[in-house]
């Protein structure tokens, strides 16, 4: 026992020396909930689990929302749009740890295991680690995926219950990470199935070494990675919840990269010659949703007039302190299908007032709901609501600002007879426009994620057609047309997309800001 401890200490001391040589330290903003991505929904968890440790059948190309081959070399859609056949990559190795050394390469059994544990309630791993499979169920996968079949060791066929093109993008999402079925069997036999979540084994560019809760996560380069090995030998997440402290650590050289800087620090960071500041529009949208089932907000002209009364540039300056851009469409500009030809409603209080009068609306009083939490798409909803209140006062509309505890807010804002317009937003999951337009504005979303309670047949027809088509060019056209209808009908005032800033040391090379929000360190090196 003593010998074993000494050996472990010696090995660790060696790795400490190596750590100095080629280590990337990332000051992360929080602790992961665990290391099995299918069990959780937080971006912080995915940064620590699905990106470094695992792969998926398909992947998002880092820095874009394009879907590229991952553990599957190719995917073929059947003519009816119901069958998807994945050809798997051969010779892919899983990591090993003290308790497990894989005896075989990745194959179809791992794919079947990774999905069936989420789909099948009677699967031995379905209830392990309190499995609620939030994302898999939230994306409607249990009903969508009718069956998963192993055609041979390196071919898997998914059969869907209805044609749904976004399925392909779903396969690149974090919940679709591929785990080792062999490791799962070994842990089940050892009576420790929860180790799938606490001592993860994947095929990704980094293997998991250790996690000290709320303090540090350590990874080592996977030398057997199926692509080129990662550029750094060691990856360390130094968990640092406070943004000012992350900045101080970056300045002191205690970490190389940090996410989510304080807006107030951004200018100083940009002026610092030792810091390289990368930025990109986030894949999100912040909006004000009217209740389109209630008068006078059931009239598109009234909604449009109110949209014209909002000074969005002032909101970007005051609420986002510059780290945002005005939104004119309900999807962000980094997403394919974005219709840049659309012109935003100009800020014109006089015209707005005249338009309201023309529609017979006078002495209007309304509520504006302000979220009690901070989100990238809305860093200060109360302040935003106050600015909107002042803007609406200029066109003769009296606004009362209301707010509730977050759970209550989410719950009450869904009510069909909700009084007033709600500030809310959305961050994309899979880079597919369907994930915004159908989820937030489709008829099925009423009394749920469609806070405008809006159901407009011409719009609905377009997004349903786009969902069922597997022709990317056709889908793009349909979504562009849908945005034109959205702009005419104005169920929301689209307010802003956030801008994501990523400060890093000048020594860091090769980092790409990922539009889906993840922080990915494969391909990143330190001088």
């Amino acid at each position: 026992m003593k010998l074993k401890f000494l050996a472990a200490t010696a090995a660790i001391a060696l790795s400490s020396a190596a750590a100095q040589a080629n280590t990337l330290v990332y000051c992360s903003e929080g602790s992961p909930e665990g290391f099995d991505p299918a069990l959780f929904t937080a971006g912080t968890t995915f940064d620590a689990s699905s990106h470094p440790i695992y792969n998926r059948l398909l992947e998002f190309e880092t820095g874009t929302t394009n879907v590229i081959p991952g553990l599957a070399e190719s995917v073929e859609a059947g003519d009816n749009g119901l069958e998807y056949t994945f050809k798997l990559r051969q010779g892919v190795k899983f990591h090993s740890n003290d308790e497990f050394t894989p005896t075989r390469d990745f194959n179809a059994d791992d794919v079947i295991f990774s999905f069936m544990r989420q789909k099948d309630d009677s699967h031995p791993y379905n209830q392990v680690s309190g499995g609620t499979w939030e994302y898999f169920k939230g994306m409607g996968m249990p009903d969508l995926v009718e069956s998963i079949e192993k055609v041979d060791d390196y071919t898997v066929k998914f059969t869907l219950s209805k044609p749904e093109a976004p399925f392909v993008a779903n396969m690149a999402m974090d919940f679709a990470s591929i785990l080792s079925a062999e490791y799962a069997d070994a842990m089940m036999e050892a009576g420790t199935p929860e180790k799938l979540n606490t001592a993860p084994i994947g095929t990704g560019p980094f293997s998991f070494l250790a996690y000290q809760k709320d303090a540090v996560i350590r990874y080592a380069q996977n030398a057997d990675y199926w692509k080129d090995p990662a550029d750094v030998e060691n990856l360390i997440f130094a968990i640092t919840p406070d943004a000012s402290v992350r900045y101080q650590k970056l300045k002191a050289g205690e970490c190389h990269i940090m996410p989510y800087p304080n807006p107030a620090d951004i200018q100083a960071m940009q002026d610092d010659a030792d810091i390289n500041m990368m930025e990109q529009e986030g894949l999100n949208v912040g909006y004000l949703a009217y209740n389109t089932t209630m008068a006078p907000f059931d009239n598109p002209n009234v909604r449009k007039a109110l949209n014209m009364a909002i000074d969005k540039n002032a909101i970007i300056d005051v609420v986002f302190q510059g780290s945002g851009q005005v939104a004119k469409n309900p999807i962000p500009p980094t997403m394919w299908g974005y219709n840049d030809a659309i012109t935003d409603d100009a800020y014109d209080p006089e015209a707005a007032k005249a338009m309201l009068e023309a529609e017979g609306v006078s002495d209007l009083s309304m509520k504006v709901w302000a979220m009690p939490v901070q989100r990238p798409y809305n860093p200060n909803a109360r302040r935003m609501a106050e600015l909107i209140q002042a803007d609406f006062a200029k066109v003769g509309v009296d606004v009362e600002i209301v707010s509730y505890e977050w759970g209550e807010y989410l719950s009450r804002s869904k009510d069909l007879d909700r009084d007033g317009a709600v500030l809310l937003g959305w961050t994309g999951d899979n880079g597919d426009p369907d994930n915004f337009l159908a989820v937030l504005l489709g008829c099925d979303g009423r009394e749920a994620s469609n806070r405008a309670q809006w159901c407009h047949e011409p719009f609905e027809d377009l997004i349903l057609k786009a969902k069922q088509s597997t022709d990317q060019a056709e889908r793009t056209k349909l979504y562009e047309d849908a945005q034109v209808i959205f702009k005419e009908q104005a169920p929301w005032a689209t307010i802003a997309h956030s801008v994501v800033y990523m400060p890093m040391s000048n020594k860091v090379q090769g980092y790409k800001v990922h539009p889906l929000g993840g922080h990915i360190f494969y391909g990143v090196s330190v001088e």
């Binding site: 790795s15 169920k137 809760k213 919840p241 402290v245």
Partner: protein
């Protein structure tokens, strides 16, 4: 003495039951449904919501939920976190040594500086030392922890580079956690420089967390000393010609210690409350931040389990303080 101890221990049981009830009810009276908070903007279908309600046991009557919780607690089972799906007990003990280590250091810092400061101020009543020390104590007591911590980080870590910004040890040191106390583990690891690194990482958080208790202890010691110094027996001792150091250090301080020990006992609660902010700023992996995150996420088992454990610790410390009274002042244990 033993009877006195048993009486104090007997009072522990109803307090413990009260605490289980309060910790159970506290999170439930806050508005906000944990399932809806978990689902976030995405929301969930009614069917899925019901499934989750059953899974988490919220479909049972509240009294039955409390009973299940109480039975669990008595069997040493505090439940599993909704968020990490891990036993609350395991999470608590993974994080608690860090909080304990920091709190002990902060308390040693506060007592080591606070007691002499209070005595010096009392002996020099009305003079420069007294005014300077008591003004400093007032400033220390009024200092917002968050601001104070950032100020120290910017000056000592950022500008001067004397101390690390945050964390418990330099990331290059990597060894298995044996006791959870970094000072001890770094010594056990045998790695050169590890202990020194752990000490350097402790300096700023210790000062920040210890500042308020230091101020309180200094002020309390001063006022207790002043009271005792006015007593007849001190005048007698002076008249006998005893050395001032012996009078102040032995006769006066021993009797002034009772209210000071009370304050130290009560400061444990303050330390744990202060640890929430201190731990967040210094990325210190303790229970403070863990509890706050859980309240925002409405992670019932963690909040109620964590509150219960903290309450038990505060109660145990105060039990110890009661026993110490008895040791210091025989009149108390004979009552």
């Amino acid at each position: 003495m033993f009877g006195y101890f048993l009486t104090r221990l007997g009072m522990f049981i109803p307090t413990f039951l009260g605490v289980t009830l309060i910790s159970f009810m506290f999170i439930r009276v806050l508005p906000g449904d944990p399932i809806i908070v978990m689902a976030g903007e995405r929301g969930m279908s009614e069917e899925r919501y019901q499934e989750m309600v059953e899974k988490l046991g919220f479909d049972k009557p509240v009294l039955e939920q409390y009973w299940d919780y109480l039975v669990g607690v008595l069997h040493g089972d505090l439940g599993e976190s909704f968020v990490t799906k891990k036993p609350v007990w395991d999470e608590f003990f993974a994080l608690f040594p860090a909080t304990l280590e920091l709190s002990i250091c902060a308390m040693i810092f506060a007592v080591a500086l606070g007691l002499p400061a209070g005595v010096i101020a009392a002996v020099n009543r009305g003079k420069f030392f007294d005014r300077a020390l008591m003004s400093s104590a007032l400033i220390g007591y009024s200092m917002p922890i968050f601001w104070w911590a950032l100020l120290l980080i910017i000056v000592f870590s950022g500008n001067l580079g004397w101390t690390p910004v945050s964390g418990r040890i330099d990331l290059l040191y990597y060894f298995p956690s044996v006791t959870g106390f970094m000072l001890i583990d770094s010594l056990l690891s045998g790695q050169e420089g590890a202990f020194g690194s752990a000490v350097r990482h402790l300096i700023l958080p210790t000062i920040v967390l210890g500042t308020i208790p230091l101020a309180v202890i200094a002020r309390q010691t001063r006022s207790a000393m002043l009271e005792v110094l006015g007593e007849d027996y001190i005048r007698t001792a002076r008249a006998k010609g005893l050395a001032p150091a012996r009078i102040n250090g032995l006769h006066a301080l021993r009797n002034a210690l009772i209210p000071v020990i009370t304050v130290i006992g009560l400061s444990v609660g303050t330390l744990l409350a202060g640890a929430i902010l201190t731990e967040t700023i210094f990325s210190w992996p303790g229970i403070g931040k863990w509890m706050v995150d859980s309240i925002f996420r409405r992670d019932y088992p963690v909040v109620q389990g964590g509150l219960l454990m903290i309450a038990v610790i505060v109660m145990l410390v105060n039990l110890l303080v009661d026993v110490l009274y008895g040791v210091i002042n025989p009149k108390i244990r004979r009552r």
